[in-house]
Symmetry: C2
Subunit: 228 residues, 2 copies
């Protein structure tokens, strides 16, 4: 079970209905859900929480927090109040008076903190990639539960995994499917979860697509482990 | 008229009521409002829009966007739909496939784009400050309406103003009041607006505090222009 489904409802749909139908079809076949900022600002966390009321796997708020500590902490407390159990933040805001405070709040509230250390778009090379090793170290230093690194850039996933084991730092990899990476590739390179959005959520048969992708992941992981 | 009020309702209040009462008391004495991420995720933009329905000055969504272009654009479209006319994003995500797309969407929708180029917390020195000049240039290159730079660090405000005039790039400065900068100091150094939160919103007489701070701004600006 290694799929986390990215929920990003398009503009011209009822976002509540859109998320709800996908949740119902996928909840027993995937490891968790990541709700994007656009859906969160559109619906508000209270309304979103009514969809996931009895869910006990990963429910990640992808806010990509990048603010001073007090503001990130306030957001984290609101997320915890409404049933989220993980949040994504940026490493580049730094530790002092920012991630140190956010990290403490996450621990106190039982929220998993996940740091972005690399992104899939070309602009990631302009600043973020220049600080990759420092960002990975920050993730470890503040005792993040995991990091986000794109499936489309396996060399980065390997680099993180060479520094820290899976028990020390989880790797979550978006970019599988529509963005170009084949299912299982990130796992072969050391990722713990593949975050998959449109390849599942916009397919004509959502549940079938998720099950098929799980099989592709298993096949590729067996292959890279050399058992095929 | 140079005050923009930062609205960040504390956790244990009704955030709708809290924002509404402050809006009513302040709307005719300040230049605009900046609504923070915590309040936006808590209430959702649709509900927030009912407070500001007939407002035509600045209404800034302080999301500190830092994502790939498609996700930032989706957020920007949602903001535009619900009456926001400005949004804050991070320069750190870079231009290609990120800020280039966000900037185009802002222009198409009549939304003012404001980039963070420096922050007030100590962690800003770890990464962001090292790229100050590049971030300022990115703001100009993608034709941002303005940038955010802290009132507590006047040398940075001066540096931005030396590179670009006020007609080229507006400077919005938070950090006035509780965070330590005195009203008017950022204006004296070249800022166009001072963003003021708790010194107004948590005071016992909200409207009085705003009016008093306006007077302090005027006094200090006259002083630094040498007319006192």
């Amino acid at each position: 079970m290694t799929i986390i489904v990215a929920l990003d409802p398009p503009l011209f749909v009822d976002p509540y209905e859109w998320i709800y139908t996908r949740y119902i079809q996928l909840r027993d076949v995937v490891e968790g859900f990541k709700v994007g900022l656009p859906a969160i600002i559109r619906l508000g966390v209270e309304k979103i929480s009514t969809i996931f009321r009895d869910y006990n796997k990963f429910l990640i708020a992808d806010l990509k927090l990048a603010d001073i500590g007090d503001i990130m902490s306030l957001s984290i407390e609101i997320l915890a109040t409404y049933g989220f159990n993980a949040v994504i933040a940026h490493g580049f805001v730094g530790i002092e008076q920012a991630l140190d405070i956010a990290s403490k709040h996450c621990k106190d509230l039982g929220i998993k903190l996940i740091l972005v250390v690399s992104m899939s778009h070309d602009g990631s090379r302009e600043f973020i990639d220049k600080h990759l090793d420092e960002l990975i170290d920050i993730a470890k230093k503040i005792e993040s539960w995991g990091v986000v690194a794109p499936a489309t850039r396996p060399e980065i996933i390997k680099r993180i995994r060479m520094r820290y084991s899976s028990t020390e730092l989880k790797i979550l990899s978006p970019g599988v499917g529509v963005q170009g990476a084949e299912p299982g590739i990130a796992l072969c390179n050391g990722a713990d979860y593949e975050i998959i959005g449109r390849a599942i959520t916009l397919s004509s048969n959502i549940r079938e697509s998720a099950l098929r992708i799980k099989e592709e992941q298993s096949y590729r992981v067996r292959q890279c482990l050399g058992s095929l």
